[in-house]
């Protein structure tokens, strides 16, 4: 592999990885607080992509407005899903909420099939995104640079919210101990709704960039990235935002590099993440940066 090729693959890996990371943050935040694998998250990602491109092509909104509207409304969808499908199950056994999440995931996916049809749609990218930038021998699409930068900015915003605001303090408190937080006057349900909103907004942002990077829309487009992002969150240590970012970036880079070095293994690409997941769960179930969650007797 030449040096230029290596850099190109690495950058592609970082791009893919930052998209995984944005989704993984949503999984990890919800898991940290509710101990729930939010299966519907991958459908939130998919809806984000659809909303923007329908805004642009059907209602002829300018790009910026479409993106903002999509992200805001997707945050609303996330909050709604929590309110309708998860909140009534807070006191139920954890698996009930998980089954509900699987139900919501299939529901949203099939609503998308009904509304948008199962036929994949091509995404028309703005022309300026098609100009190839040449840096030495490395050929880059503007998105390869733009995606990591935008993702990084979004993550900075998130870190600010979680570590510098009162709502963020609430989130951290709830993830330590939900009942004590409640008795201490933390508005638990509001904070959880906010968590779903923020996680969904990040997933929507990721979905939009994903659709620009790999220009095709289909109702099942969220399933595989969703699983992989969840795996990234587990690998990084579920419940930890830094872990989700590191896990996401790592998974993206490993995936691209593995396929680039061993092209004959390309067919196994989708299995790689799952093998990694099972390995991590067996060797170090808390992930790279996760805290040990106590089993309550």
């Amino acid at each position: 592999m030449t040096w230029a090729m290596f850099v190109q693959h690495l950058l592609n890996g970082v791009t893919l990885g930052s998209l995984y990371a944005l989704i993984a943050i949503g999984y990890t935040m919800v898991y940290g607080i509710l101990r729930l694998i939010n299966f519907a998250h991958s459908e939130i990602f998919m809806l984000g992509a659809y909303f923007v491109f329908w805004g642009v092509t059907l209602i002829h909104l300018p790009w910026t407005i479409a993106v903002v509207l999509a992200i805001v409304s997707i945050a609303g969808v996330g909050v709604l899903v929590d309110r309708v499908a998860y909140r009534p199950l807070r006191d139920a056994p954890r698996i009930s909420a998980l089954i509900s999440a699987i139900g919501v995931s299939f529901f949203l996916q099939n609503v998308a099939i009904v509304v948008f049809s199962a036929i994949p749609r091509e995404v028309y990218r703005p022309a300026w995104l098609e100009n190839v930038i040449l840096v030495g021998d490395v050929r880059l699409l503007p998105l390869t640079l733009l995606v990591p930068v935008l993702s990084f900015l979004l993550m900075l915003g998130l870190v600010y919210i979680v570590y510098k605001t009162k709502a963020g303090l609430g989130m951290r408190a709830i993830s330590k101990d939900i009942e004590t937080s409640f008795t201490m006057g933390v508005p638990v349900n509001k904070i959880i709704a906010l968590t779903f909103g923020i996680g969904s907004a990040l997933a929507a942002a990721s979905g939009i960039m994903w659709a620009l990077r790999y220009p095709q829309l289909q109702p099942v487009m969220g399933v595989i990235p969703g699983f992989k992002a969840f795996i990234a969150a587990v690998v990084g240590g579920i419940g930890s935002i830094q872990g989700a970012v590191i896990g996401g970036l790592g998974l993206g880079i490993v995936e691209i590099m593995a396929v680039a070095t061993f092209p004959e293994l390309a067919g196994y690409r989708d299995a790689l993440a799952f093998i990694l997941l099972i390995a991590i769960l067996l060797i170090k179930p808390t992930g790279l940066l996760g805290e040990k969650l106590e089993d309550k007797l």
């Binding site: 199950l89 954890r94 699987i102 299939f106 099939n110 099939i113 699983f227």
Partner: protein
């Protein structure tokens, strides 16, 4: 007669009535209705096996589609003739042992089940240490890995093309025979000491451990038996629908089985049976919303995807408002029926 004898007699009577019904059905019902009956039998096998793993032992497994795929592929390879396989493997020729392997249907189905059970044993041994949702996601990962493998070993599975024209040996007699066998085995298991142990583990694992139960061993056994019947179900399904490919074994398949188990009630065999019947019929019946309907000259367009919208919504509603499902953990048995009769008698 003692109550036990009455129950045994009733069981035989019920089996006889079922046999008579099937005998009548195969002569008088159309091919489509018979296909639905067949699907019901296979779904009962799948649902009861998942119920053993999840409902009775409390292991949240999402790997059913993987075990079904293993059973389906193993059985199909064994029942197709070498000539058929030669025509089928157009991408790359099959390995000689795949090419030449052949067995009667009964042996092929059992082979599918045994292979699935072996894989269940191998996969379960490391994975069953994980709890709750981690077990779910890891078994889901296992099922995905099976699917990716099926796509990538074309000399055994014919890759993405899969198999076509699998001999349709799975008639109603085979399917219902296997279905009754599954029900009998799992019913006997559940109502034995073994079953009590499983339910003790489900209800309170640390307590079960403290009582000296080798939790891991029982979990692994339950998981392996569940995988065996999932493999059997997959094998029958392959012969029933006569076409398989890796896409058939997506997570959706596991979702359908999970849906039946949750609807019927976790930890209720009769619940799973009732839910299998109801959901299989409903799923087929709902096909009409997906197909175009012709009213004279007008054509109402079908709505693809509507079936699963209805079903996922139903699952959410059940889990929100009636978490215990149709039957909860209760069983509908002769004992209750007899009790009802006795009460009536006393009232008179």
């Amino acid at each position: 007669m003692t109550e036990n004898r009455i129950k045994i007699a009733l069981n035989f009577a019920a089996t006889g009535i079922l046999a008579l019904f099937l005998w009548w059905a195969q002569d008088f019902l159309g091919g489509y209705s018979i296909q639905i009956l067949n699907l019901i039998a296979v779904n009962i096998i799948l649902a009861v096996s998942l119920n053993l793993i999840y409902g009775f032992t409390g292991m949240f497994s999402l790997g059913h589609a993987g075990f079904m795929a293993i059973g389906a592929y193993a059985c199909s390879i064994l029942i197709m003739t070498p000539g058929q396989k030669e025509m089928l493997f157009i991408l790359q020729p099959a390995y000689p042992w795949v090419q030449n392997a052949q067995a009667p249907f009964l042996v092929a189905v059992i082979a599918g089940g045994v292979l699935a059970a072996l894989v269940g044993l191998l996969v379960g041994a490391p994975l069953l240490r994980l709890g709750d949702d981690y077990l779910g996601i890891a078994t889901l990962g296992f099922a995905e890995i099976v699917r990716v493998l099926a796509n990538n070993i074309p000399r055994i599975t014919n890759g993405a093309l899969g198999f076509k024209g699998i001999p349709d040996y799975a008639n109603i007699w085979w399917n219902f025979g296997w279905c009754l066998f599954t029900l009998y085995v799992i019913y006997r298991l559940i109502n034995s000491n073994f079953g009590n142990t499983l339910m003790a583990i489900r209800d309170d694992e640390p307590a079960a451990k403290a009582m000296g139960i080798n939790v891991f061993r029982y979990k692994l056994l339950s998981f392996t038996i569940g995988s065996f019947f999932a493999g059997i179900g997959g094998a029958l399904l392959a012969s029933l629908v006569s076409t398989i490919d890796p896409k058939m074994f997506l997570f959706t398949l596991t979702f359908n089985v999970l849906m039946i188990v949750v609807t019927g009630g976790l930890g209720s065999i009769t619940g799973s049976v009732l839910a299998s019947i109801a959901i299989t019929i409903l799923l087929e019946w709902l096909r009409f919303v997906e197909n175009p309907i012709f009213l004279g000259d007008y054509e109402l367009k079908g709505i693809p995807g509507m079936r699963m919208v209805v079903f996922s919504l139903a699952l959410i509603i059940i889990i929100l408002f009636r978490r215990e499902g149709l039957m909860g953990m209760r069983e509908f048995g002769w004992g209750r029926l007899l009790g009802l009769v006795h009460k009536r008698g006393e009232a008179k």
